[in-house]
Symmetry: C2
Subunit: 381 residues, 2 copies
């Protein structure tokens, strides 16, 4: 607790997720402090400390200045996380939960144990294992590195085991051994995401299931709630989200990304144990945003209402192009053309394909709202 | 402009208004910097500079670090403001507009010139002037110091000129002379407020007229939009707001506080040239909040839509009591009991009657929303 009785939340990682935790911290009057990787990070405003999250002493010193530790990303080593816990630091999500977001093979093992539907998979230690899986699944598969992938990085669709020889070589050279995750190529009609927030006490809260639209492996749009004429599919997705949140004992916000298959099945694809791109719509679209809820959850405060503020909300990501300035240099035209759109700039230098911001529009009709959000985001592309 | 092309807004004053400008600055990716009076100010997070706004060199040095200067309060001396303008600094609102919020007598003269309805008034230089006004207005009047009053401070209802002898004495000792503002005691049924935002280019935008409920001279509740069975009264109030905004050439957000009299007249009471307590509802209740709009306006960016996000929004202020901690110490019970309420803590040490935060609830029905907001705020009283 700070001198005035406020709870101080420490966030490891200075990206846009940490950045977007700052506004609700200001409104609620919770103190927030960020351990950023570098000067000029997206969450610079709250970045009291700049240092390497892989350096144990840097993290321990940061933890001594706050009441609870949480994360902008999942990359803090387990050894550091466990040492924090053994020193009595409140860490949310806890290391035993966070491991499922750190290692995709550990995640698949856990999901299988929980009995939720997932794509056929195996952990392939070498090309022989991988070729056997390919042969049994029509000659094609998705291969993922177990650690470190995001936004389509570390994911390849292959039809020959040799196509990931470089990854096997890297694993062998790494000296720790390890395997690649191999999954069947799912024939999905769309992707869904269920956001769940959970307090250490167990109180759980969900938002409506949303549809996520990816392009080139990167989230492009989120439609909230997911439009459907099969409500039963969304109920199933919500049920899976609840089982996973409870099963992995998450604290904070969890995103469960899922496939809806052509034959009406719902399969879990990925987990993220933090606020997630599929929940950015909630800043304007929900009574309580995922960022406010994450702060409440990790501070073990009662969770807020997650009803929609309007029948429809659509979020469209803004990706950096080859030679653009940051979003505000286009504001004169973009804001004038779209007075109802809410613009979010992460204050990042644009690079091709890099998420530099997003736009959200809320309203009565999904198709109208979506067209507006897409048009507003196009000013920056 | 900063290195990455963002606009940097400098706010003089570190109170809750500056504090609440920070979240929309983060979302829009505009840089914000605050010149605060002291360490531990409400807007501490963005307070890069601590210093005295009455010290010219402090203000000039601060202005050199930003693209535009705006304000959390109206107390910066005119001499400093004019020097900033002569040095080429963008100052919004401009000094010539800000004077109307700095001196209530200058404001009354301007309102009279604009022809908008105001209470009968005079500038009383001494007790003789004041007694003459009292005699002509049924023996009672409201007396206000021309400068420095807020939240009921510097306002007295009197029936004898001797009741403000101390104020006349202080004015005489001040050496600058000056008068007290005297006004008829208006028989009003309620108070209304019209928020207006205006860009340097002249683009103007208004929110729905709201009803403000005062207790002990301090704003207690705001009902948005103002409930009425006389839409014509609200139209008149909106029209007055538009005339005033244009007439005083304001840039940024202006609040026009008005009385609705028993006989259906609308009279202007006060002006505030900054985001205002009567607009806090807009954080959740409007597509574009007064804080975001103020940033857009002073940065000369296109203004956002000011539609309500729900049919009704009610804001209730939280005032400090004699022996309470800050709002977060009561969050365990308050948040659990009111999951739909949005809590705002200004991170201030509570003192009796001091505004330390507010609660807003939005929804379909005003009476339901209002009851919820009042109940949520009562957890802190």
């Amino acid at each position: 607790m700070t001198q005035n009785g406020s709870i101080k939340i420490g966030v490891i990682g200075g990206g846009q997720l940490a950045r977007m935790m700052v506004p609700p911290a200001i409104h609620l009057g919770l103190r927030i402090s960020v351990l950023a990787e570098s000067e000029g990070a997206s969450a610079e405003r709250a970045a009291d400390v700049v240092g390497d999250y892989r350096d144990a002493e840097t993290v321990y010193a940061f933890a001594e200045t706050v009441d609870v530790i949480t994360f902008d990303h999942e990359h803090v080593p387990q050894s550091i996380l466990h040492e924090l816990v053994s020193r009595g630091v409140a860490v949310h999500p806890r290391p035993d939960a966070l491991q499922y977001a750190q290692d995709k093979i550990v995640m698949r093992e856990k999901l299988a144990e929980l009995g939720v539907p997932i794509p056929d998979w195996t952990a392939a230690a070498d090309e022989t294992d991988l070729q056997a899986f390919l042969d049994a699944h029509g000659g094609r598969a998705v291969v993922k590195t177990a650690r470190g992938g995001y936004d389509g990085k570390g994911v390849r669709v292959i039809s020959d085991a040799a196509e990931v020889r470089d990854w096997f070589t890297a694993l062998a050279e790494d000296g720790n051994g390890g395997s690649l995750l191999v999954e069947e190529l799912v024939d999905f009609v769309r992707e869904l995401s269920q956001l769940v927030a959970r307090r250490p006490s167990g109180e759980t809260c969900t938002w409506p299931v949303v549809e996520t639209i990816q392009r080139d492996g990167v989230c492009a749009e989120v439609l909230a709630p997911a439009p459907t004429d099969r409500a039963e599919v969304l109920e199933r997705a919500a049920g899976i989200g609840a089982i996973v949140a409870e099963g992995v004992d998450v604290t904070g916000v969890l995103a469960v990304e899922m496939f809806e298959t052509r034959d009406g099945r719902v399969l879990v694809n990925e987990l993220a144990m933090r606020p997630h791109n599929s929940g950015h719509f909630s800043i304007e679209g929900s009574v309580t945003s995922q960022f406010e809820q994450h702060l409440r959850a990790v501070a073990d405060l009662p969770l807020g209402d997650t009803s929609m503020t309007a029948p429809a909300a659509v979020m469209v990501n803004v990706l950096g192009g080859p030679a653009e300035g940051p979003m505000p240099v286009r504001y004169a035209e973009a804001l004038a053309a779209h007075p109802r759109a809410k613009f979010h700039s992460y204050d990042k230098q644009p690079r091709p394909g890099r998420k530099v911001g997003h736009v959200t529009v809320t309203g009565e009709q999904l198709d109208v709202v979506r067209a507006e959000a897409i048009a507003a985001a196009q000013h920056f592309e």
